[in-house]
């Protein structure tokens, strides 16, 4: 078996894959808006293609039998009380070098971060 045989097989299979798409252009455009992106056309088509490819790769999740007693795992490692650090006291500490943090802001005026106008939105 050649070193990259695994990759080659995967590439060939993918080329002959079906063309059915779960993320259509309108769905994709909605996601792009939610994510606060703007995309060039070639970028958009590449990303949409990859998203549909990834959804195919995760499709098998639907078929997995999950026994009723299986709980969700938010972390792999359990967190019994004896493994947890004690919580900090709920006390205010002023940061010693707030200037260093403010210096990171792209635009500042009188220690305020400058942003463009915030549009009014009608909340329904």
């Amino acid at each position: 078996m050649a070193t990259s045989c695994f990759w080659e097989v995967m590439v060939v299979k993918k080329t002959h894959g079906s063309t059915q798409e779960e993320i259509t252009r309108p769905v994709f455009d909605h996601l792009v808006d939610l994510a606060a992106f703007e995309l060039d056309e070639d970028e958009a088509e590449y990303l949409r293609g990859e998203l549909n490819g990834q959804l195919k790769a995760i499709a098998e999740l639907e078929a997995i039998h999950i026994p009723a007693d299986i709980a969700i795992a938010t972390h792999g490692v359990p967190y019994p009380m004896e493994n947890r650090p004690a919580l900090r006291k709920d006390a205010v500490h002023s940061y010693p070098d707030s200037e260093a943090i403010l210096e990171q802001a792209p635009e500042i005026e009188d220690r305020y971060i400058v942003v463009p106008d915030i549009p009014n939105e009608e909340l329904s």
Partner: protein, 532 residues
């Protein structure tokens, strides 16, 4: 010819330094000289055009922090001369993956969006390394925000290359770390592992990499990718050095509520105690890869690269000869779900973590005129993020949408429990297998060529097929070099153990290392060094 200082192990260097035989400044200079020889031109975020020489250099670093390292080296030497203890890693040059904040250094995550960000504080593991006398020699490259397995997605090009053959990728996302350590551009490196990002590049570059138990090493100051999976850990040239580094970085941290308060043992103690009576398992589910056909969805099966399987089985024989009990045919049936589950969990967490980059408080801001705030967000994120972060954010948003949450996210969290169950059954003291560790290949293949896989996000993700289950389960994993394939590229084998069993894994790894100390492959150097 005497081995240059930059090629010595950390434990050897600390010994020489404490005995007054070398100074920290000499170690630093040796390492800087190596960087000068093999590194190549500094990377930048400007549109990349290949230049002569790019293809035979390592390009591990984004930033070399020579001034910081020199001040630290001088302080170490001063301490030693004054008769004070200079620390457990005194004078050892450490490269920090540029996903950690280090005060007063650019901390970029290999992304344009953080190119201008200078960290106002230092990550806990780095702070501990520096307090132990280590020299922070620089910040090394990675896949953008750690999103990849080859380093090709970094915004800082030229991307790192594999020192064993620069036509090949170093792996990722800690590829800058493993390339730097393999090439003698650092003695140790601090990496992170979310799906295999320490172990996979360690295997590809012929070095040692450990993903500790989730929570064993603090994540404070680590720029987050998938917060329930991210683990900082050591990259080293031998197992003892990884243990030495674990001694320094592991432990409770009041800045990170998930950093476990489990006591930290001395990982070097008993490391050469051998494996007599230890039960080490082999699982068929780690030798054959099962994955859905990318076209039809039908289940396919492929063996791992034959040379990698042979190296893993040969390692089992070596360990058996040292007294370990090898247990065959340990079932790990949920291994194959590791990647699909990862596609969901990691993307949801990534999308959540990456919403903070908006061009307002820090990082890249679109420099032109905009009319309103949302336009500023869109423009800044368009120009600041590369393709991989955009892809992960979009995927994370899609699968966590209200209408899909049950089918994808919640289901994935349950399948994660199934993956964890496989390990619990294998390591159960009262169970049928009662293992101390599972021995597996680290990767399905050796390093692939640059440009071979990049761009295909599904294919790239499969490079983590054998490493990602440990991240889901939270358990520790160790990748160690186990020979070279016919094409000259390194082979890595992996040891997986129960929660907080790092000491055992290191001990088994060290036993393998000692029993193969005379192997021919150990005397072969990476191509970039052999040439010099």
């Amino acid at each position: 010819m005497t081995k240059p200082l930059c090629d010595r192990s950390a434990h050897e260097l600390v010994g020489l330094l404490k005995a007054g035989e070398v100074s920290a400044v000499e170690v630093l200079d040796s390492t800087l000289e190596r960087i000068q020889t093999v590194e190549g031109r500094a990377p930048s975020t400007a549109p990349y055009t290949s230049q002569p020489g790019d293809e035979n250099h390592v390009h591990a670093y984004i930033t070399v922090t020579e001034g910081r390292a020199r001040r630290q080296a001088e302080a170490v030497d001063k301490k030693r001369l004054a008769g004070d203890d200079p620390g457990a890693l005194a004078g050892v040059p450490v490269a920090v993956k540029d996903i950690f904040c280090v005060k007063d250094t650019p901390s970029t995550a290999a992304s344009r969006i953080l190119e201008s960000f200078v960290a106002p504080y230092t990550a806990t593991p780095v702070e501990r390394l520096e307090a132990a006398g280590a020299l922070t020699i620089g910040k090394v490259n990675l896949d953008e925000f750690t999103f990849g397995s080859s380093n090709e997605s970094t915004a800082f090009q030229p991307a790192p290359r594999n020192p064993w053959n620069p036509a090949y990728v170093p792996g990722g996302s800690s590829g800058g770390s493993t390339a730097a350590v393999a090439a003698g551009e650092a003695v140790l490196s601090l990496g992170t592992d979310t799906a295999g990002s320490i172990r996979q590049p360690a295997a590809f570059c012929g070095v040692v990499g450990m993903k500790p138990t989730y929570g064993r090493v603090s994540r404070y100051g680590l720029i987050a990718f998938a917060s329930s999976l991210d683990c900082p850990g050591p990259v080293a040239r031998d197992v003892t050095d990884a243990a030495l580094m674990m001694n320094v970085i592991a432990g409770e941290d009041h800045h990170d509520a998930t950093a476990a308060s489990v006591p930290v043992p001395d990982y070097t103690e008993g490391i050469e105690g051998g494996v007599q009576g230890m039960r080490i398992g082999l699982s068929p589910d780690y030798f054959r890869l099962r994955y859905p056909d990318p076209g039809t969805g039908e289940l396919r099966e492929q063996p791992v690269l034959a040379e990698i399987e042979a190296a893993t089985r040969a390692a089992a024989e070596k360990l058996a000869a040292q007294g370990a009990v090898i247990v065959d045919d340990v079932p790990m049936p949920n291994t194959r779900y590791g990647i699909p589950v990862y596609f969901v969990i990691s993307r949801v967490e990534a999308a959540s973590n990456l919403h903070r980059y908006d061009g307002v408080k820090y990082g890249y801001r679109h420099p032109g005129q905009v009319n309103e705030l949302r336009e500023l967000y869109r423009r800044s994120r368009k120009e600041g993020f590369g393709l991989q972060p955009k892809l992960r954010i979009l995927m994370g948003m899609y699968v966590s949408g209200a209408q899909y949450e049950h089918a994808y996210y919640e289901r994935s969290l349950k399948v994660r429990s199934l993956i964890r169950r496989d390990f619990e059954a294998a390591f159960d003291r009262d169970g049928a297998y009662n293992l101390d560790a599972l021995l597996t290949p680290t990767t399905p293949t050796t390093a692939f060529m640059m440009g071979r896989v990049y761009g295909d996000s599904v294919l790239m993700q499969y490079a983590d097929l054998l490493t990602v289950p440990a991240n889901h389960a939270g358990i520790p994993g160790l990748s160690i070099p186990a020979g070279l394939a016919e094409n000259g590229m390194p082979i890595g084998i992996q040891l997986l153990g129960p929660d907080f069993s790092e000491a055992n894994l290191l001990r088994i790894g060290r036993c393998y290392e000692m029993s193969t100390a005379d192997a021919d492959w150990r005397s072969i150097k990476p191509q970039v060094l052999a040439k010099g």
